[in-house]
């Protein structure tokens, strides 16, 4: 196995080449989301070119959009919305899901049944439709978007964490802790969580990808981030008319979405492995 992929020790961790490339892409987009505003060559909202759907040129690196605005500046600014909203939503949904899931597994009984049925019911509503109805009903703003995305993805995180925690909570060391008289918060944070952390983080990465795609989908339908601001999904929508001209304005934000989601996926599949040598 070691021969098929580049492997090396890094602070006692084994990393492979795919994982390294993927994390470089993710770090790049994180950096852009935080500091992208500093590097915009033109103000992102200003019409700078008389031509629309302009080609890539020395002046406008990624061409111009349907109004003649600079695409590079708009993608740099869009990263902030796409990454920011998705990260906030994934943190909320995974926190809620994992805490509730562990509680259900450790306490069991009525709490488990009620929580599971309620979240299953929530899960049964198609996610796009649910997002559409809520955003159409109460209007689109960034907090509403974060809230809706978090609610949509909580049941999945709950199911996942509960399934893992149920296995752990039947182990003898949890029984020992119960016999010692430990309360639920200790059982959850000290006994169960450290043992499910790895899979939970992996699940979080996957969920982040789903959220980016759903957010882009909502924006594409006009229900996401509202003009004049734009995330990558809305950039694709705005410029969809340029598809027949082969304009970079529609392709570039799509590439941005694709690179981020694929990179996160690849990183999850190639997470660094801690090297432990028992005989040392």
């Amino acid at each position: 196995m070691a021969s098929s992929s580049l492997s090396r020790g890094l602070l006692g961790y084994r990393v492979n080449a795919v994982g390294l490339v993927a994390s470089a892409v993710i770090l790049f987009w994180l950096f852009i989301a935080l500091f992208g505003g500093q590097f915009t060559p033109y103000p992102p909202g200003e019409i700078v070119d008389f031509d629309y759907f302009g080609p890539m040129s020395g002046q406008y690196w990624l061409g111009t959009d349907y109004l003649g605005r600079d695409m590079l500046s708009r993608i740099l600014m869009g990263a902030r919305y796409t990454v920011g909203i998705s990260v906030a939503a994934v943190l909320i949904s995974c926190f809620l899901g994992v805490v509730l899931g562990m509680m259900a597994a450790v306490i069991g009984g009525w709490l488990d049944t009620c929580l599971s049925r309620f979240l299953d019911a929530l899960n049964s509503i198609p996610s796009k439709l649910f997002g559409l109805v809520v955003v159409a009903g109460i209007g689109s703003s960034i907090p509403v978007l974060i809230g809706v995305l978090a609610v949509i993805y909580t049941p999945g995180a709950y199911r996942f964490a509960r399934a893992l925690a149920v296995n752990i909570s039947t182990m003898d060391f949890v029984t020992v802790a119960r016999a010692r008289g430990e309360r639920t918060p200790y059982l959850i944070t000290q006994e169960v969580l450290p043992n499910i952390l790895g899979p939970v983080l992996t699940d979080m990465g996957l969920r982040f990808v789903f959220i980016v795609l759903l957010l882009s989908g909502l924006s594409f339908l006009g229900l996401g981030v509202q003009p004049p601001n734009a995330d990558w999904g809305s950039l694709v929508r705005e410029n969809i008319g340029g598809l027949s001209f082969g304009a970079p304005a529609v392709i570039m934000p799509s590439i941005a979405i694709a690179t981020l989601t694929i990179a996160v996926n690849l990183l999850i599949d190639n997470l660094p492995v801690r090297i432990r040598d028992r005989s040392e």
């Binding site: 029984t175 020992v176 119960r178 016999a179 008289g181 000290q190 006994e191 450290p194 090297i275």
Partner: protein, 553 residues
């Protein structure tokens, strides 16, 4: 003259995660003659299974043969191609695994799985294979040999499944059969049936065998010669009689010594005017499943069980799996509230549910589980595991806590540096010591030991028992010692309680185990424990009273 199997200077290595090479088998040589059964014996990690596997030309992932030859019937398994090896497996060399339950596919009928070898190697027509399978079932003394093959793995008992896996190995008519600890997971009474069946088919078929085990007494019944292994090297080779009665190597003597328990002398003298017992169980009934209108659970695991443990003395609870001995421990610890009856600690009635017991009551009664692998949180270092009861019961923190952790580790004879390790980085015996140290951290009065030595090697288990005795002298403890292994119970207990099907069948002092038992089941159980005597199994078969008891069970 060449032997049937020749292993010559076999060396095996493995590559660790960090890329270091380590030697596992360091130049092992021995022969097996045709029709001879050779036992490989040693503690876990001694390489006994690894060597047995090479007879099939198989190395576990990460391992490789460095040098040497494994010649089976004139063919060197090391040199053969994978395809040639596959052709030999099942027809020339067959394997009987330790856990038959894991070796059978739960969703296929037993007969289809048993004849699979014949089908894969196209040895005979299927009808003939099925007929041969039924013949083997009969030879292995399985009940209903005509129809048992139509059942699924969950519909037969553990001992029957182990015999079926032997049938699976024998169907291809192999010349060499490898038994990998086939009776380790079975109860003593079941073990006898399985051993007898194995012995009779091996003798009838004139096959050579390799019997991997850590239990000298079991090996003594079936093997012609014994190879003692340790750390990948042969320590001693000899006929069974030689090894048992005239062992030369110190390690072999240690193994033999671990088998003869030092009779336990009570720490506390027998009480004169009966004071309050440390722990008393009165008429406890408990079970699992939904509770009916009168408060009785659907499936009862304990029926009206009562016992008492005097301070400073030890009570052994023995019985086969399913007899309710672990349920008793769970009921006492408050993990399974009994449906009736009461548990008294130092004369005071405890609540049935651990959540309603006071912190002090919980502290005074600690439980230690069988499998240290699952009883220690794999994600937390040893120091945290031991530190938690200290801060939980005694409110210790900082330097005082740290000092006490080191003291506890010292009590169980582990170096202080161990506190930074994760449980996965410790050996089985070390884990069990940490498991024990965690119970000691509470300063308990009574410790419930649930099969704590069952998963350990003989020598390690003997050391743990010695440690328990020492701690008892120092800390004035009382143990409830649950086990299916009579010799460990004898080694530490003052009194023994025999359980069968959820009921207490007998209660007697440990020194009267042999000869003093009245109940038929206790006598069967005590007689079933293998003895270090090659004629023991055959002698039992001739004992009409014993055979009748075994049949009645």
């Amino acid at each position: 003259m060449a032997s049937f199997v020749e292993i010559r200077d076999l060396k095996l290595g493995a590559v660790t995660d960090s890329g270091r090479d380590i030697d596992i088998i360091k130049g092992v040589s021995f022969d097996i003659a045709e029709g001879e059964i050779v036992a490989l014996i040693g503690e876990s990690g001694s390489g006994k299974t690894t060597i047995a596997m090479t007879l099939m030309g198989h190395c576990r992932p990460g391992c490789y043969v460095q040098s040497g030859a494994v010649v089976v019937d004139g063919k060197d398994m090391v040199q053969l191609s994978e395809r040639q090896r596959a052709a030999m497996r099942g027809t020339e060399v067959a394997y009987v695994p330790q856990s038959a339950a894991a070796a059978f596919n739960p969703c296929k009928r037993l007969l289809d799985q048993v004849v699979e070898v014949a089908r894969i190697h196209k040895l005979m027509p299927m009808d003939q294979a099925r007929a041969k399978a039924v013949e083997l079932f009969r030879a292995l003394a399985l009940p209903d040999p005509e129809t048992i093959g139509q059942r699924y793995p969950h519909q037969v008992s553990g001992g029957q499944l182990q015999r079926l896996s032997a049938a699976m190995a024998l169907i291809g008519g192999p010349k060499l059969v490898i038994f990998d600890e086939p009776t380790t997971a079975l109860d003593v009474t079941t073990q006898i049936e399985v051993l007898r069946a194995f012995k009779s088919v091996m003798t009838a078929g004139g096959m050579a065998g390799v019997y991997v085990s850590h239990d000298l007494a079991v090996v003594a019944q079936i093997a012609d010669r014994i190879v003692v292994l340790r750390g990948g090297e042969v320590q001693e080779v000899g006929t069974t009689q030689q090894i048992l009665h005239d062992a030369q190597h110190p390690y072999t003597r240690e193994l033999l010594a671990a088998f003869h328990p030092v009779p336990h002398a009570a720490v506390a003298p027998a009480p004169q005017a009966a004071p309050v017992p440390a722990l008393e169980v009165v008429g406890v009934t408990a079970g699992y499943g939904p509770v009916d209108a009168s408060g009785v659970p659907h499936k009862l695991a304990l029926r009206d069980v009562g016992c008492a443990l005097e301070k400073g003395r030890n009570l052994g609870v023995i019985g086969e799996s399913g007899s309710g001995k672990s349920t008793l421990a769970r009921a006492i610890a408050g993990l399974l509230p009994p449906s009736s009856g009461s548990i008294l600690l130092g004369g005071k009635v405890l609540a049935g549910d651990a959540r309603q017991r006071s912190k002090d009551e919980l502290r005074r009664l600690q439980i230690v589980f069988q499998l240290a692998d699952t009883a220690l949180n794999p994600a937390r270092p040893v120091g945290d595991i031991l530190g938690r009861p200290l801060s939980f019961y005694h409110g210790m923190k900082g330097a005082a806590r740290e000092a006490r952790i080191v003291e506890l580790l010292d009590m169980v004879r582990l170096p202080a540096a161990m506190r930074h390790r994760l449980p996965g980085e410790l050996s089985g015996g070390q884990k069990q010591r940490v498991n024990l140290a965690r119970a000691l951290a509470a300063n308990p009065e009574v410790i419930l030991c649930d099969e704590i030595t069952s998963a350990l090697d003989t020598v390690v288990a003997a050391a743990v028992i010695e440690l328990l005795k020492e701690l008892q002298r120092e800390l004035d403890l009382s143990y409830v010692f649950i086990s299916h292994d009579l010799s460990t119970v004898q080694a530490i207990c003052d009194e023994v309680m025999v359980m069968f099907a959820g009921e207490k069948v007998e209660h007697l002092p440990a020194d009267r185990i042999h000869g003093g038992a009245q109940h038929a089941y206790s006598r069967l159980l005590f007689a079933s424990v293998p003895k270090l005597d090659t004629g023991w199994l055959d002698g039992l078969s001739r004992d009409p009273e014993f055979s009748a008891a075994l049949a009645r069970r």
